[in-house]
Amino acid sequence: MRRLGLVLVVCLFVCAGCAEVPTDPDALAYYNEINDPMEPLNRKIFAFNHALDKGVLQPLARGYNAAVPEFARTGIRSAFFNLREPVNFVNSVLQLNVKCAVSSIIRFFFNTAFGLFGFHDTAAEMGLAPCKNDLGTTLAKYGVPKGPMLMLPILGQTYLRDAVGSAGDYFMSPLTIYGLDKNPHDDLWKVQEYARPAADAVTTRAQFLDVTDSVEKGSVDLYASYREMLYRIRQKEINERLGVSAEEKQQSYDFDVEDDDL
């Protein structure tokens, strides 16, 4: 009975959030490409996330930028990236990308041992460039479609494929595996489970304050602006990781521009 209630609530939520399908051919093509069928609901969640960002995350990120010198911020970003190296490694293996797999695992051990746990990217200085990777990209490589756009509370914009990928990445992280059999009252477990993601969020947010300030000042529809930008950035990221040809990359911005007014 409770399950039925849940299903009804979900149906109500989804139907209340369905976007109107455009009839204009150009608008329909864009609607299909961006695939945001739950736009009305997504906009509500976006408004909540944006308020949370303004009220909590931005002040913390601005304070962090003001208090922490740039070299230390670079080091902290590098250390967080180092914690992701095992995830990069696993996904590179799954994608049969030997070069990146080797680079990620060597970087992880090298930077952990000789780079102050990744605070200093010693491996990069020796020519081992970072290879960021994730399960969303792995799924894309094997033909899984991106699915509908989702606006997740707190976590923000993603696509169904990437959301599943992020969950998978979380569970393949050594830190998560370490925490699985830990007592919830264990201090180290608490750091891994709460403090690390919070610190990661603040440092990442701090990195993009300038650009988001600018977008927010200029945009007439913030939701539409971010949706377009984040979609294109993610598309580029996946294309680059999977080695898509220059011709295919050009397709994303080689749309028709009429010259009636020229």
Partner: protein, 215 residues
């Protein structure tokens, strides 16, 4: 790193040079663009308000405002009266100039490296590929920038789009404005008023901006 994105767009929108040849010469055209912007305006010891004026002049000369504004509004542009078209173009142009004046004022220490050019599928445009690199590539990794160049009917080259890290300026404006109009009953005057209010805010910021580039 992201600051560079805005710097790039500022450079392309506000610098200008016209090359007599199109095919195969688009890269030279864009190179001249960037040189003129960096040396001709960025380095000038004048106030930000003055630089905004200089950018405005260059913007008129070297970009195709008609193409950009028409594409930004999509099919809606065709349904506007001449008066509405003019008012939109004026507000839109001011918006571009003021926004990028502010953005570019924050940047220095970047240079362009050009990596090739390709003709568009339609054959009408040339995409010039470049990268923006800084003196500290670890802190500021290179950013891909593609410039879309088209000749007008008089043979003059124009920048009609800039694609930074796969984000097309034209496409972003189009989707944003279409969404705004859709949510406001298709009323162009609401959009024009919104642009004007943003322009007023930009002007205020420009007046209050610290004059980093002066002297």
């Amino acid at each position: 790193m992201k600051k560079i994105l805005f710097f790039l767009v500022a450079v392309v929108l506000f610098s200008c040079a016209v090359s007599p040849v199109f095919a195969g010469e688009a890269t030279d055209f864009v190179k001249k663009f960037t040189d003129d912007a960096l040396d001709g305006i960025l380095a000038k010891p004048v106030s930000l308000e003055k630089k905004a004026e200089m950018f405005g002049d260059l913007f008129e000369k070297c970009t195709s405002l008609d193409t950009i504004s028409s594409f930004a509004l999509g099919r809606k542009m065709k349904s506007l009266s001449p008066d509405e078209k003019e008012r939109f173009k004026k507000a839109f142009k001011e918006n571009l100039i003021l926004m990028w004046t502010l953005r570019f004022a924050e940047y220095n220490d970047q240079r362009f490296e050009f990596t090739g050019e390709k003709v568009s599928d339609s054959g009408k445009d040339v995409f010039v590929s470049s990268q923006v690199v800084s003196s500290d590539p670890v802190a500021n990794p290179p950013i891909d920038v593609v410039w879309r160049i088209r000749k007008d009917k008089n043979g003059k080259q124009n920048v009609i789009d800039i694609v930074i890290s796969n984000i097309s300026m034209l496409k972003t404006y189009q989707t944003e404005y279409a969404s705004f109009l859709n949510r406001n009953g298709g009323d162009i005057n609401t959009l024009i008023d919104m642009l004007k209010s943003k322009n007023d805010a930009y002007r205020k910021d420009i007046r209050n901006a610290p004059s980093k580039k002066e002297g």
